[in-house]
Point group: D3
Chain length 299, copies 6
């Protein structure tokens, strides 16, 4: 069960309203790398988790991310103050309002016209948040890696927002939020490596013929190598357009069809076959004003 | 530039058509952890990458994932053979076709009715693939972690599909695809750790007050601890509903409003205020058939 | 700031795992009328709200909805117990696992194969939750009506789930959740009607010529009337296909074009005009095997 | 069956093309509170409705909303006139076209480049319309409340657009459309309250222990009260992080597992357990360049 | 302006309710090839169209498609009759209702639980309709081709539904709807070819070096040819993995960087470079329990 | 199997970075008419195709579209050079960075803040690519028409982008890409017309009563006619709001209800009926401050 205190986890002070900046902040409110995504990610993992220690950690971090969602949401609302009232109350002077919400770019017009200057769960382009952003699959050796990556991404987006802001209070709150992503990443790393072994993830072993092969599929000016494809663990296998299938068989797909299916497929093939022995007049020729030949010519 | 050979990277042989199983296979064709997601992820990273070694590796793996997309797509098509023809040619006996596509569950009806027994870019529930699945943000210390996690997830979904299949040819091809995810994860790990340092990701340092703090936000029966919240690097800080903000200030959000904004906000507040000194009759009371009191009662 | 206690707001006891039923329960976890939608709706309103009483109420109810999300999520996880382990550990006997997840219909295959038997934020058809479900626009006289309606919808979906369940513990928890929607609706009704006046919503008055008109646009067997179109407040205006525009002007759309625009539009019109004085041979005729006439006939 | 007259329900006259304003108008064409959403909402309800009076009303209003969709669409097209032709005919002078569609902000570049200056079914940020906006659930005591709320929201968005426009013809048409939302809301209110009783919606009664309880879940500076949580009908129950479950039982989730399931879950738990007795070296430490200790230290 | 008559364009008579079949019918109600897509497609084109004849035709067909949407919606509602009432009124006997909506597969559970047995704007898998299905771009020589293709697709989906149905009344109504798609395709073909010329679409000519080249990018067992790549109009150019760029230049992408940009890019490259001269220990090795080497080995 | 060469199919040279223009280019990278859509469309058709000639052609063109995706992606990356580095490295002078990404409009802020100046699979408004853009249904007489239309649309969007660009290298590469759409359209036209017959698409004949009827559903100032509704093949049938159903029957929808269903529907009707004999007080009246009448008045 959740409980709430109206005081924020971190104090927010904004020097001046700025709807364009508010709009950029939405990236970490309703964007793919934002706090709703983080909270939903860890909360749903926590519910489904059976390991007591991990469940505990996931609930701790999920609850903190909800508290961060509140901090970033308050940044958005403070930056939108004033603008919100002017549109609602119809205070305008000679088209100033139209110019201010369209000139600022940044889709702040959407925040104002559709969402009334609030904190909608959209990214900075106005795309609604979707659970398609949450990549949890219910296996800890995969999900913890997903969490590590998610924290790394969120850290970077905060870094970019900090680089775009000159307001010291905004910078300060963003720095706190960014820092916590670092701490969370550290926790998830510890949780991953305390599962032994955790690689390969899951249970089934790979086919030993292919676990240490690096296929060179793309050709460049030079054959660049690095630890990802050379060294004792790697078998470097150049592939070209002419390479056969790696299993040494035909490389064709096949299926054993039950009686009756073959027949109906032949009927379909006949009905829909493309004749290669004619050169039909087409819509493109009609459309280009080309006179159709007196009869379709054989090749 | 891409080129293509119609022979598959790995030979596909299916023992018997099975549209229900075909439908499950779509998870790795057009699902969030599937091969289109992988190919798009690495291809777009490769284009934007400037480091020659990583660019090379990303193109290699992107090209291989496209080739895997072709393998899994051929599995889908082989499993749908026959069913595809029967619906197209209208071959039916006493409602058998309706029963077969609805009884099989698994949304195979969608594959048949809407997509004609082909290999659509949807997941196994029929949800169209979306680029919202791709979490690339353009910073290698984050994107490589995302790639590691994506390979781990894909490995697990293949593992589940293998557990659901008895057809030896399907199991064989799926095992190849699963194995390659393991190899790719290894390459991405090497690429990540050959950037030194890579943690914290990005450039800005965190606020040292908060990088090693673990906030206990959720209360349980016991105070479970593990390497993710105890040890020399961690400062374990219990938080309760009554804890103040972690920055020691007020915990309230504030903004310095320019002249004029305060006034319009007051007007809006007045117009929309909720009176707490009345007990108004509501639509719920009307709807419940409760007789409205003669006048709104003061409390 | 949020805090959490691992004990649920309401105790959940399930008699027997049932992945098919778990899947239906997802409707109130990640579906449009579910608890995530409710929590997000009220939480974002709470952040943006300036009226102290409403802000307080919105935070109370948002926090409770998060706690309900946890209750329904636990129902899902309990109903999926066992199934989750069997697929992860690859425990199967002669294809039983495939039959169980496809025969059950209800998209439980998605919950298992993609989400590993957890509690994903999707509806019962596997559609990911989207913030497009949240209709908050930042004006209390509209948002409170939206909240009232949302509670009414959620109440009904719980009612349907209760009707589909025989497990007494599941019925019990669902009944609690359903009941709370009734209580929340009552609170929102009180909050709406304590704004005086609250109708029409917003600030601008309507055009008095059209506020009390009912346009009869659809013709039926009889002219059915009711309080929604007859009585002292209504002006019943029958409209037919031949009725002119209700403003008494031309009913045509027009714009005053600046110099130059008219010219370029004429050029475009000329380039793309459809000639009505010819009967061109078309692709359909080619495709039907109709011999094109010797020359396009004039009419 | 529908029929159509090319004259609009309300005459549209625009003083001057303005693609930026056209783009804002899209909010009521293909946005969540726009006319397509309204028309689809009432049309689908009308089809499924069995009560003759409501069915009649729903068809009337659905048909009118379609006619409004046409009015707002014509506003968009008139405001885009000229711009449409210039891009299609490639009329440009020294990059003026690029500047005009990017400087105007407001995503008008999307309307021009992708949609050719037409009236696409997207909102003002370019997000395609989705039926996820339609919240109909097929129970009149809920759907009529949803309709009332939808009309209130649409009224407000029109009000904001009117506040942003100085063109008298645009203001005039928008005022007509806004006014009709008021009239429709009145009709839906009458239709709701002519169902007796209509509260609580649906058929199942709530659990009397919880229908009149207000849970105080969020703590603030003061205990704010209003008619939504105090008065004779309310039982005000403060909840804190330490409150037990409201049903007086344990607050834990449980399920009775069939034979065999417990065993497989134990196997999964063992495979994936997080050890809390070690402090493993992690990827973060590798990435930060921290020398791994000679052996994993016990705590 | 639209007007409506409650009588359908085509009479619907259903022999027996069948929620599973109702669910399949949704494909043509809220699916990508369905009637809402058709109506929206032609209606939005009609509004933006300036050519009087095409505008007229588009409004005629848009209005008819709306009338078809009503026909297919009534098919859905008739097939859901009874089921709708049983869930709403809670009429159940020993779990029969649960079995009926889950055993039927086909996502009819979604239609019942979420949509109450109505006619929701989703496809047969429950995916909400999206305007992303509408491919109008505002140029008649493209849009008319899109319309022709859309009619062809809709015709086929109707054909599949007819093949799945044994109810004579359902077959009869579907056949009418299918037939009209044929007629509409004919009209759109005539409209396309009455624009002269209409190929290539639009205004800009192609680069004559590349308009008649066929690039053979994919290698197979034989060099299959047909009228699409051989004949007097085609220049057949085999391409292999080793072919250079078709413009005869370098095939590399380049940009002239302004002063300062080069410097910052070098800084970024240095910070994020992957070293190829080391073989770092990775998370995968830690996770696999491989002892890290005493020091990172040079190659 | 795919293979790759890092040299592009067409050389890209950009004169100067321009993030705003980069953003517009995204339309053909991750937009609905862009190259990913094209590649996915033809690749999935190729996999499912059984006709050897068409399969061959589809793989050729799919592979070329992938190569085009790479060309347009490189245009985006070259145009973003510099901007990418400045944000990543935090190089800013007095807020210049904020102004540059918000003043440019065009959602380039999204490309920078969320995607780090890379080439994300979104359209120019930031909407993620979705497989809902791919309209393949698995019947060649429909899919080839869809392909023809898709090529026409892509050609036009390229034309618009060319009209918006002054950079000669960008114009040059775009012209190549545009030209290839023309060539592909020609191939698909040949492939369609080499299926004989191909009209009507599919197998089932239409109902001869309705294949040549044109219904006039929309009334205008004049009865405009053209080859799409007049001539020997057309039967022009005016329809008005008063026209009966075209099948000459009742125009009503009906279903034969099994025993029991009728009863439960009557119960539902009674519970939810709207009374037309009262004029109930409503929430709107309460909200407007209208004093409710002493008792609900009968009409």
């Amino acid at each position: 069960m959740f409980s709430h205190n109206k005081r924020l986890q971190y104090t927010v002070h904004v020097s001046m309203p700025n709807p364009g900046l508010a709009n950029l902040m939405l990236e970490q409110f309703g964007g793919p790398q934002g706090e709703l995504a983080a909270a939903c990610r860890y909360f749903t993992q926590a519910i489904a988790e059976d390991d007591p220690g991990r469940k505990d950690m996931l609930f701790d971090i999920a609850t903190e991310e909800l508290s961060h969602l509140e901090v970033i949401g308050n940044l958005v609302c403070m930056l939108n103050k004033g603008a919100k009232g002017r549109l609602a109350e119809g205070v305008d002077e000679q088209g100033e309002m139209y110019r201010s919400i369209t000139g600022a770019g940044n889709d702040s017009h959407l925040t104002q016209v559709l969402y009334g200057g609030g904190a909608p769960l959209v990214n900075s382009a106005g795309v609604p948040w979707t659970a398609a952003y949450v990549d949890t699959i219910g296996e800890p050796t995969a999900d913890l890696r997903s969490n590590i990556a998610a924290e790394a991404r969120a850290k970077i987006v905060y870094e970019r927002l900090i680089n775009l802001t000159e307001d010291p209070g905004v910078k300060d709150a963003l720095t706190f939020l960014m820092t916590r992503e670092v701490a969370h990443q550290k926790s998830f790393e510890k949780a991953l490596y305390s599962i032994e072994p955790n690689f390969p993830p899951g249970k089934l072993p790979g086919d030993p013929r292919f676990t240490s092969v690096y296929f060179r599929m793309s050709k460049g000016e030079a054959d660049l190598k690095g630890p990802w494809n050379e060294g004792p663990d790697w078998d470097f296998v150049p592939m070209t357009q002419d390479s056969g299938p790696v299993d040494g068989r035909t490389g064709w797909a096949s299926v054993e069809l039950p009686e009756g299916d073959a027949e109906v497929l032949r009927a379909m093939a006949t009905r829909t076959q493309s004749r290669t022995d004619i050169d039909p007049t087409t819509g493109a020729e009609l459309g280009a004003g080309v006179t159709p030949p007196p009869a379709a010519t054989k090749k």
